[in-house]
């Protein structure tokens, strides 16, 4: 315990480390402040019209189907439709009906909407002949926001790794490692202290971020804490690996960057692109961050199912990587 106090004292002097832990919390605040509305308009179909061109009835019909923006001149409208960052469909009056135009670089969904819009407009009168069931879903459509939140959380967990790696490498550079060798400190207690440091920091930072960003129900608290603890443990361990294998701080940072990309990019990619039941998706569980990411993502989307599978996989990762580290370390000592 006393030794741990020294380690903590060592950190307090290091502004970098303290800030590393604060960073995800700040990002978390920024993300939760991002207004949901501005993110939502992104998935809404958008139409561009000309001022004083469409009748008010037509404009109202368009507004019921998407977000409508008005432009002064036809050149402005063309420019807005052609703008590569938007998916805007241009709509103009054509006799009693409308005609649409598009840029040609849209997603399939907007291509079909633009192509068929005049026809849908023609047959707009018959909507009341059918029964329409829209089942309300409890959580709003903030898919992108929860993705941002989960990315922030996983990054926060990863801070334990950065922190441990930096800490160990600095000690190496300062020669503390040599001093440690003659001190009556066993490799085991060194290992435990270092893991504990990154671990505690990572957990604190992640839990604070989670409190700020996520609306949790009571039943979700326990699985969330389990996921956070397990992933923080893994990232602290990853930090030990990096600290072990890198000679200088710069190489260490290169390694950290590579591992950070490896930890963050594949889960996001698999989550968005690969269907959940495919073999490829199961392969992604080989990375410890994937399990954490999927579990958190389900929770952020308001799913009530306890992510038991993810927790078990994370625990398995913890054991395997720890054993591997102990094995490598022992062999090196001999």
């Amino acid at each position: 315990m006393k030794r741990l106090k020294y380690q903590l004292k060592n950190i307090r002097r290091d502004k970098m480390c303290v800030l590393t832990f604060l960073l995800p919390i700040i990002v978390g605040i920024a993300v939760s402040l991002l207004s949901g509305v501005s993110l939502q308009t992104m998935s809404e179909t958008s139409f561009g019209i000309l001022k004083n061109d469409l009748s008010s009835e037509t404009a109202a019909w368009l507004k019921s189907n998407g977000c409508v923006t008005e432009y002064e001149t036809i050149a402005d409208l063309h420019q807005a439709v052609n703008n590569p960052s938007t998916q805007m469909i241009g709509v103009l009056r054509a006799g009693r009906g409308i005609r649409s135009f598009r840029s040609g670089d849209e997603l399939e969904v907007n291509r079909v909407i633009a192509d068929t819009l005049p026809w849908l407009y023609e047959s707009r009168g018959e909507e009341h002949m059918y029964k329409n069931t829209v089942v309300p879903v409890s959580s709003g459509n903030d898919g992108l926001k929860s993705l941002l939140i989960v990315i922030t959380l996983v990054t926060a967990m990863f801070m334990g790794c950065t922190f441990n790696a930096m800490n160990i490498i600095t000690e190496k550079e300062d020669g503390v490692t040599f001093i440690n060798r003659i001190l009556p400190m066993t490799a085991r207690s060194y290992l435990i202290q270092k893991i504990l440091l990154g671990f505690i920091g990572g957990i604190l930072s992640t839990i604070l971020t989670a409190l700020i960003c996520m609306k949790l129900t009571l039943s979700q608290v326990v699985p969330l804490i389990l996921i956070i603890i397990l992933s923080a443990f893994i990232s602290a361990l990853a930090g030990l690996y990096i600290g072990h294998f890198s000679e200088g701080l710069m190489i260490g940072i290169v390694y950290i960057k590579i591992i950070m990309i490896l930890f963050l990019a594949p889960p996001i990619f698999f989550y968005l692109m690969v269907p959940g039941h495919s073999v490829l998706f199961q392969f992604s569980y080989l990375l410890p961050s994937s399990a954490a990411f999927y579990g958190l993502m389900n929770m952020a989307n308001g799913s009530a199912i306890v992510p038991g599978k993810d927790i078990v996989i994370l625990a398995a990762h913890c054991i395997v990587w720890l054993l591997l580290y102990l094995f490598l370390f022992r062999r090196q000592k001999e």
């Binding site: 998407g66 938007t86 670089d105 633009a114 026809w119 329409n132």
Partner: protein, 330 residues
């Protein structure tokens, strides 16, 4: 002076080769290109799928956009993605079934789309006014973004890591007594990184836009990449001289990577309209780079004047900081 510059250039070039950042740049080139060519180009979003549950087979003609399901349960589970629409023809009155997407206009559109698909009256061809296809647009867009990220975040780190290495070796102290002009010292570093950034730009553009399109946009892109590279390298130089160690610098790097580039990406890529984004200096650099990739000339003369002023100002600041650092080191 030219002889000194060429010697310094040679030394800086060797230093850069010896550090691991060349490998990092190469690895990111491969990674980005693989991602663009195999993943991003194929990104698409299909039109709302329509599922039909029709036990009495009332519907004879089946549109291409429609899929038959056998039970009501299958219909409901097919619609669970909050994107698809179901049509139930089991009772007399046809029923449209869907899960709310969270956006009312989208739900409304999904209903009239399903109705049109059911009635089979979907045809038409909108006029096309643009020059890019979807995949070409994706290529231009993502290449611009990766280049922006690489130049603003990674290039910054590269220069700093080199400077810190020199600092550790005591080069700055040595330069303090050498009769080498400080401007030349900065200039040689800038040139090496400008050159390497431009080479990276050429490769990234050619690999991902293809040779024909790549060559067409390269002159404009190289100008913007050069501006961005100079500004970032000078900023990196300033911070690297100013901050005592690499550790603090890497924190600054993290802050830059997250807070400076992310809003720019969001605003540039998604069309999210934030009024304050015009006060974000990096946004203008990104917008100019992207415009260059799309061969749109929206960049004004005032932009170039501002950039030039910025580069000169940063150069003077870097020079000043270096002078102070040298006198402090003795």
């Amino acid at each position: 002076m030219w002889k000194k510059l060429s010697h310094l250039l040679k030394k800086d070039f060797r230093l850069m080769l010896s550090s691991k950042f060349v490998i990092l740049a190469l690895a990111s080139l491969v990674l980005y290109s693989c991602y663009i060519n195999f993943v991003y180009v194929n990104l698409d979003q299909e039109i709302y799928p329509v599922y039909l549950y029709d036990p009495q087979a009332k519907q004879t003609a089946l549109s291409d956009y429609m899929t038959r399901v056998d039970t009501r349960d299958a219909l409901e589970s097919a619609c669970a993605d909050r994107y698809s629409v179901g049509i139930d023809l089991a009772s007399d009155q046809p029923e449209f079934y869907m899960l709310a997407s969270g956006i009312d206009t989208m739900d409304h559109y999904r209903t009239i789309w399903a109705k049109a698909v059911l009635n089979g009256n979907i045809k038409g061809q909108a006029e096309m006014i643009g020059t890019n296809s979807r995949s070409m647009k994706n290529r231009r867009e993502i290449t611009a973004e990766f280049l922006f990220f690489e130049l603003s975040a990674v290039g910054f780190l590269g220069l700093a890591s080199m400077l810190f290495k020199e600092k550790q070796m005591g080069v700055i102290r040595v330069h303090g007594i050498l009769p080498v002009n400080k401007a030349v010292f900065i200039l040689s570093k800038l040139l090496v990184f400008l050159l390497s950034d431009l080479v990276f730009t050429v490769f990234l553009t050619a690999l991902n836009l293809g040779l024909r399109h790549g060559i067409a946009v390269l002159p404009a892109v190289l100008i913007q990449a050069g501006i961005l590279s100079l500004i970032m390298a000078l900023t990196g130089f300033f911070f690297a001289i100013r901050l005592p160690d690499f550790k603090q610098f890497s924190l600054l790097y993290l802050v830059i990577a997250i807070f400076v580039t992310t809003p720019v990406f969001l605003a540039g890529q998604t069309g999210v309209s934030w009024d304050w984004i015009v006060y974000h200096p990096m946004y203008h650099l990104f917008a100019a780079l992207k415009a260059a990739y799309f061969s749109v000339s929206t960049v004004k003369t005032s932009y170039y004047v501002t950039c030039l002023g910025m580069v000169i100002l940063l150069f003077l600041i870097a020079h000043q900081t270096l002078t102070r650092e040298m006198s402090r080191e003795g």
